[in-house]
């Protein structure tokens, strides 16, 4: 299985590549070579850091190439900011548009006495029929580090509670996203990445 990993200079690319290779995937990295997206079998958009960094996807022409690949049915996984980019945008960078595959927008955690960023291991409440999270039990822990989050909607595959419920994972057909870091979430995270690598079109 060959995975095209997108480098937009915002993230822990090394950790994501390591985890995918550990699972037996062959990885190729692109920061603008559109041919690598045209031939992609799987696409991963990692990311930690600021939503504004996704502007680089527009500047390099990667945004329309990713959109075309998704339309062709190529399985896509966005991680952290990479998941948030699937939405219309984020209040972190109001002038930067997301892909708008999901119509909603990401927002900062509500005012509270809790620490932000939300850093650490928190539990998943998994919705039925998620293929990305197949085999993950309710209450399993994954590692988060973020200050902005996506709302809970019909496309939400798992929710997590911190200050308020938010979308820990989103999934509609071949387009998937996780707010947590599967590459840093021990055995649970590797299982989720493994599900993504073995993902097939539903019959």
């Amino acid at each position: 299985m060959r995975v095209t990993v997108i480098d937009y200079k915002a993230g822990n690319l090394t950790s994501v590549l390591k985890a995918l290779r550990h699972l037996g995937a062959e990885t190729v990295v692109t920061d603008g070579d559109l041919a690598l997206l045209e031939a992609a079998e799987r696409i991963v958009l990692p990311g930690v850091g600021h939503f504004a960094a996704t502007g680089r996807l527009d500047a390099t022409g990667l945004t329309p190439a990713i959109r075309a690949a998704i339309t062709r049915g190529v399985p896509f996984l966005g991680i952290c900011v990479g998941m948030q980019w699937l939405y219309a945008g984020s209040s972190e960078a109001p002038n930067q548009k997301g892909l708008t595959h999901f119509a909603e927008s990401c927002t900062h955690f509500s005012e509270s006495n809790e620490k932000v960023p939300h850093v650490g291991w928190n539990s998943l409440e998994i919705r039925p029929n998620s293929r990305l999270l197949a085999g993950v039990e309710a209450g399993e822990y994954v590692y988060f580090t973020h200050s902005y989050k996506a709302p809970v909607t019909a496309d939400t595959a798992a929710t997590t509670f911190y200050i308020e419920p938010f979308a820990a994972a989103v999934e509609r057909g071949n387009v998937m996203g996780v707010q947590f870091h599967p590459e840093k979430s021990g055995a649970t995270g590797l299982k989720i990445l493994g599900n993504f690598l073995s993902w097939k079109e539903a019959e």
């Binding site: 090394t14 950790s15 985890a19 930690v48 960023p117 650490g120 021990g186």
Partner: protein, 259 residues
């Protein structure tokens, strides 16, 4: 529910884990990659590797060590010690670290925090603070003095105001070591930890003084810590992060279990 993190800490010198008792009798405690993998397997929520090597040759050894340690490590991995510039940090990230911890260099040039945060995100910058209570100060706890150079050099900075500045500059977490408690095994400095934790909006990792399970219960409760560093404790009676967390769960602390 968010859980309290137990972070395993490895002190590394010239590519080997070392263990000192009261800063003397430094003994070789194994290979960092092997030790990190063991701690992760035994339930640690995160691994911190602190380089205590000061030489240039040592820095190259460190990058090799980070690379080897990160290779098969699928939990968060923080590296500290001797990171003096955003370029130093970039090399450590490229080698596979998820976060860097900065201490003396950030006090010498606080802009370092801004620079690393801008390039790699706030979540990637941990500001480590070594503080000692100041009996001369109006408030000996909040005004505990910050030290650098492994606790040898007083800076005149006060712990709460420095922690706030670090947060304002974009630090993602504070790693707070109490020099009063460090190495004593008589418990974390809960007053100091609470004073800092209540003054900032970012997570605080408590360090220094752990000896028993009760000390961890105390620092997560009274000390308001979000995470606690366990260094030598695994050599003194508590066999693993997992067994520590099982005891913490019995005491009502929310931890990641099974792990």
């Amino acid at each position: 529910m968010i859980t309290k993190r137990i972070i395993a800490c490895l002190d590394v010198q010239d590519g080997r884990v070392v263990k000192g008792v009261q800063f003397v009798d430094i003994i070789d405690a194994g290979d960092p990659a092997t030790q990190a993998a063991r701690h992760a397997r035994e339930g640690a929520d995160e691994i911190v590797l602190l380089d205590i090597t000061a030489t240039h040759e040592g820095r190259q050894t460190l990058l090799d060590t980070v690379r080897r340690t990160a290779r098969e490590l699928f939990v968060p991995f923080c590296v500290g010690g001797g990171i003096r510039s955003a370029d130093d940090a970039a090399q450590v990230f490229e080698a596979g670290a998820d976060k860097v911890s900065v201490n003396s260099a950030a006090l010498a040039d606080p802009m370092l925090i801004d620079a690393i945060g801008r390039s790699f995100g706030a979540q990637a910058v941990v500001v480590a603070i070594d503080a000692r209570r100041d009996p001369e100060a109006a408030d000996p706890v909040r005004d505990a003095q910050v030290f650098v150079q492994g606790g040898r050099l007083p800076t005149g900075r006060r712990v709460v105001e420095w922690a706030r500045e670090a947060e304002d500059r974009g630090a993602g977490e504070i790693l707070l070591t109490s020099m009063n408690s460090d190495g004593m095994r008589t418990g974390f400095d809960c007053e100091l930890t609470a004073a800092v934790s209540e003054s900032v909006g970012i997570p605080v990792i408590a360090s220094g003084g752990a000896g028993t399970v009760e000390h961890f219960v105390d620092v997560f409760g009274r000390g308001k810590a979000d995470a606690a560093l366990a260094a030598s404790i695994f050599h003194f009676g508590i066999s693993s992060a997992r067994s520590l967390k099982e005891e913490l769960a019995k005491a009502g602390v929310s931890v990641r279990l099974p792990c």
